[in-house]
């Protein structure tokens, strides 16, 4: 028998099955919490930190990622406070300054309210979200790719940099990669990167219903789990 717990997200009450993460609940209930490394049915590692929320315990709030936080009875979650918005915007700014050549990352930046980028742009091909690594290991049991190196040298690679013998050529790693689609205006050359912000109008629509999902085009862009097929 499924056990249920009562919890609140931004003041609204929800009765949800035990074992889900806060992000699962939010996605199912249409509460908009931006996320990048989360993929339905794969394990959550809390790497991108975009899905942060405030978890209030005994009157004190703690910032934590909603994808790794399991629902509990009486839990109080705040997903859209000024503090969270500020932090989320700063994280999105770090991401977009690192990899502006991705429609998904540009869309996340718009969704998180990034209007200026205060760091010099770089033009990386990978944001190390680990979606590809986890689908390969968990869905296909292949482990054809994995993380190599530490810190700024961390990258996704095949074992010993050679063609992997366990790769099933399923192509799921490419399907899930947020870097495969370039911004609408085409690829940016090194040195010519910019913050796209073309889709800010999407945010105007969303502003009328704060923190509720309106099935925006931005979500499609960054493969929001609602577009990818619901919660886990």
């Amino acid at each position: 028998m499924v056990q249920y717990v009562n919890m609140r997200i931004d003041g609204s009450h929800y009765k949800v099955p035990k074992g889900l993460s806060v992000l699962d609940v939010a996605i199912e209930q249409g509460v908009c919490i931006p996320h990048l490394c989360h993929v339905p049915n794969l394990s959550d590692i809390g790497a991108c930190r975009l899905c942060i929320v405030e978890h209030v315990v005994n009157g004190r709030s703690k910032v934590t990622t909603s994808c790794t936080l399991r629902v509990q009875e009486g839990m109080i979650i705040l997903s859209n406070t000024d503090k969270i918005k500020r932090l989320r915007k700063n994280i999105a700014e770090l991401l977009v300054s690192q990899a502006p050549n991705s429609k998904a990352i540009q869309d996340i930046a718009v969704r998180c309210g990034v209007t200026t980028v205060r760091y010099p742009f770089r033009n990386d091909d990978c944001v190390l979200c680990g979606r590809c690594v986890r689908i390969c290991a968990e869905q296909w049991q292949a482990k054809a790719i994995g993380f190599v190196g530490r810190g700024k040298d961390r990258r996704v690679d095949t074992p010993f940099g050679r063609k992997s013998e366990t790769c099933k050529v399923c192509g799921n790693c490419i399907d899930l990669c947020p870097m495969t689609i370039t911004p609408c205006a085409g690829p940016m050359k090194p040195g010519e990167e910019y913050l796209c912000s073309k889709c800010e109008s999407q945010m105007l629509e969303a502003a009328g219903v704060p923190d509720q999902c309106i099935w925006c085009e931005l979500g499609k862009g960054f493969q929001c789990s609602r577009h990818l097929g619901g919660h886990a």
């Binding site: 809390g46 790497a47 700063n90 300054s97 690192q98 530490r150 810190g151 700024k152 961390r154």
Partner: protein, 617 residues
């Protein structure tokens, strides 16, 4: 080593060792720790053994290679008992004289004694040396009295009596209560109350539980844990055994970095000896307590000192932290309840059980009890390991124990707590070594690193140093830490290169706030501390770099110009000959000058000038 099968046999065994020891004429304790080994103490030990053998004294004089004595700068250190004569900088050539004068006649050799730098007086014993006088060496003092490779030495000093006491009718709950009442807080950096951690683990559901010792010490310049594990491994094991009784664990691990070969060796040896003696294994000392320990070697990643990363590494996975929404005391190693404490914390436990929590909590300040070992390094006269009662002011550590500035230039700041800690200026030196007081001041006690800096240190450069370290050591899993440190370093480098913008300070503060709140593990959350604390106390230096394009300490190369002081230069020509870039112009006996266009700011001219005539502006 015979097996000790019952609790009562332990004291009988101890008495037998003591009797044998009493027949000895004298004991020479000589430091064989990593610090003294680097100043050739192993050669001295070998020479000493050889000479004693040659003179027929090998049977009556006991040579004891010990762990670290703390005063590493004076190594190799030798203490001749029973008089406790303290020799420093002992060399192979001194051995013959030590045997003929000190061992045979009991006379001290003046040349090898420590000289008080203030009075110039020769000091004969450790207890009179200023470096040691203001310390309270509860843990470190043991090092001198035992050979870390000998379980007999440890037992002779009363070792394992806390274990015997605990197994002799003391309940797990009583041990727990004692540790809680002692007020002991974790020595690894966080300062979490040890008793509370144990209690949470003890209450966690599950039969299978673990205790783990964190010996993955990685702060630059800090080596407290190394010396304890090297010098007194059995005290750590005994602490872990007591912890295991308290929480109900059956297995323990010592996770020690492979960069500490001696600590690995000694820990392994100690485990072997304890097993042989029946102190590890099944039915320990005839009780129903079963417990064993394994030594696991780590690859030396800084991040593996973080609890969840350490456990991942122990399990054989990549040492990366995981979110801690469920604590490791409930789901730790192999998802079982686990108590993880660092070396120094474990080493404190036996004395707490033996002497009681009242004895322990009587020492220290309000919120921080007991003593703390600090690694005193940097521009201070007496570097080494220092153990002080918690609550001792920083100035006592730096000036009384450390002897003040080593360079003669005024001291500017002290960096406490390693890369996660912060820099405190001299006007904060009244602050006590206390978890809460230092945290409130924007720094932390951390694991006990203390780096003293004089006024030739540039705080922007210090922040840059620590960020570079953290960038190398970040695991790279989460965005705020990986990209945050990277960008922070980019900004600080820009400032020190003279390209800083006024808005950079606000940006750094905003970024630091983001890292602190959102990073996945403790390393990322505290990674901005070196920047935040230097910004807090030395903001004017950042502003001088940004607005004035000047480095007040004369460190950041892009912002300094070397000039010749016309009043001091006598035209000797040394700098002219030494300059590899031919940038110094001048005739003999006339004031020289430096061509700023050609100067590469290497600083060679300043180092060769005997008249202090070259300085930076």
């Amino acid at each position: 080593m015979p097996e000790i099968a019952f609790i009562s046999e332990l004291s009988a065994f101890r008495n037998r060792i003591m009797e044998k020891r009493n027949e000895l004429k004298g004991t020479i304790a000589i430091c064989g720790g990593t610090g003294c080994q680097s100043s050739s103490s192993l050669k001295v030990i070998a020479a000493l053994m050889e000479e004693l053998e040659a003179q027929g004294l090998a049977e009556t004089v006991h040579v004891r290679p010990t762990g670290c004595h703390g005063f590493c700068e004076q190594g190799p250190i030798m203490v001749v008992e029973p008089d406790g004569i303290f020799y420093c900088h002992v060399g192979v050539d001194d051995i013959a004289e030590i045997i003929s004068e000190t061992i045979r006649k009991g006379e001290a050799i003046d040349r090898l004694l420590y000289t008080d730098p203030v009075t110039g007086r020769k000091i004969k014993t450790e207890s009179e040396i200023p470096f040691y006088v203001k310390q309270k060496r509860q843990l470190l003092a043991q090092n001198r009295r035992l050979n870390p490779k000998s379980i007999e030495d440890y037992i002779a000093l009363g070792g394992y009596s806390a274990l015997a006491q605990a197994l002799n009718g003391m309940e797990a709950g009583t041990i727990l209560k004692e540790v809680i009442a002692s007020g002991l807080r974790g020595r690894g950096g966080g300062g979490f109350p040890t008793g509370r951690k144990w209690k949470e683990c003890q209450e966690a559901p599950g039969e299978e539980k673990y205790v783990v010792c964190n010996a993955d010490e990685g702060d630059p310049g800090a080596y407290m844990d190394r010396c304890l594990l090297e010098g007194n491994p059995h005290s750590v094991l005994e602490g872990m055994m007591l912890g295991a009784i308290a929480v109900g664990a059956q297995h323990g691990y010592v996770y020690v970095r492979n960069e500490y070969p001696l600590a690995v060796e000694h820990a392994k040896k100690a485990v072997e000896q304890a097993r042989e003696a029946g102190l590890l294994g099944e039915a320990i000392l005839g009780s129903s307590f079963n417990f064993d320990i394994d030594v696991a070697r780590g690859g030396g990643a800084f991040v593996c000192g973080e609890s969840t990363a350490l456990m991942a590494s122990l399990e054989g996975r990549v040492g990366e932290p995981r979110p801690k929404d469920v604590h490791t005391v409930v789901e730790g190693l192999w998802n079982k309840p686990t108590v993880l404490n660092n070396v120094e914390t474990w080493a404190n436990i036996p004395a707490i059980i033996l002497k009681g929590s009242d004895w322990y909590s009587a020492q220290g300040s309000n919120g921080s009890k007991g003593t703390k070992i600090l690694a005193l390094t940097g521009q201070v006269k007496n570097t080494g390991l220092v153990e002080v009662e918690m609550g001792t002011p920083i100035k006592t550590v730096v000036f009384d124990i450390g002897g003040g500035s080593a360079t003669g230039k005024p001291i500017k700041a002290v960096q406490t707590g390693g890369p996660s800690g912060g820099c405190l200026p001299t006007y904060k030196f009244d602050l006590p070594v206390d978890f809460d007081a230092l945290y409130d001041a924007g720094s932390m006690v951390g694991s006990g690193g203390m780096v003293v800096m004089d006024e030739d240190t540039c705080m922007v450069d210090v922040a840059k140093y620590f960020l570079t370290f953290l960038q190398d050591e970040s695991c790279g899993k989460c965005v705020p830490c990986r990209l945050g440190i990277d960008r922070m370093l980019e900004i600080v480098t820009r400032i020190s290169d003279g390209g800083g913008k006024p808005e950079d300070i606000d940006l750094m503060e905003d970024l630091a706030f983001t890292m602190k709140e959102t990073a996945l593990c403790g390393l990322g959350k505290t990674a901005a501390n070196p920047v935040l604390s230097t910004l807090k106390y030395f903001r004017d230096e950042y502003e001088a770099h940004i607005n004035g394009r000047k480095c007040p300490a004369g460190v950041c190369q892009a912002l300094i110009t070397y000039v010749v002081d016309g009043e001091k230069c006598n035209g000797c020509g040394r700098c002219l000959r030494a300059c590899p870039h031919n940038s110094i112009i001048g005739e003999k006996k006339k004031v020289h000058r430096i061509d700023a266009e050609l100067c590469k700011k290497c600083g060679i001219c300043r180092s060769v000038c005997e008249f202090d005539a070259i300085h930076t502006i």
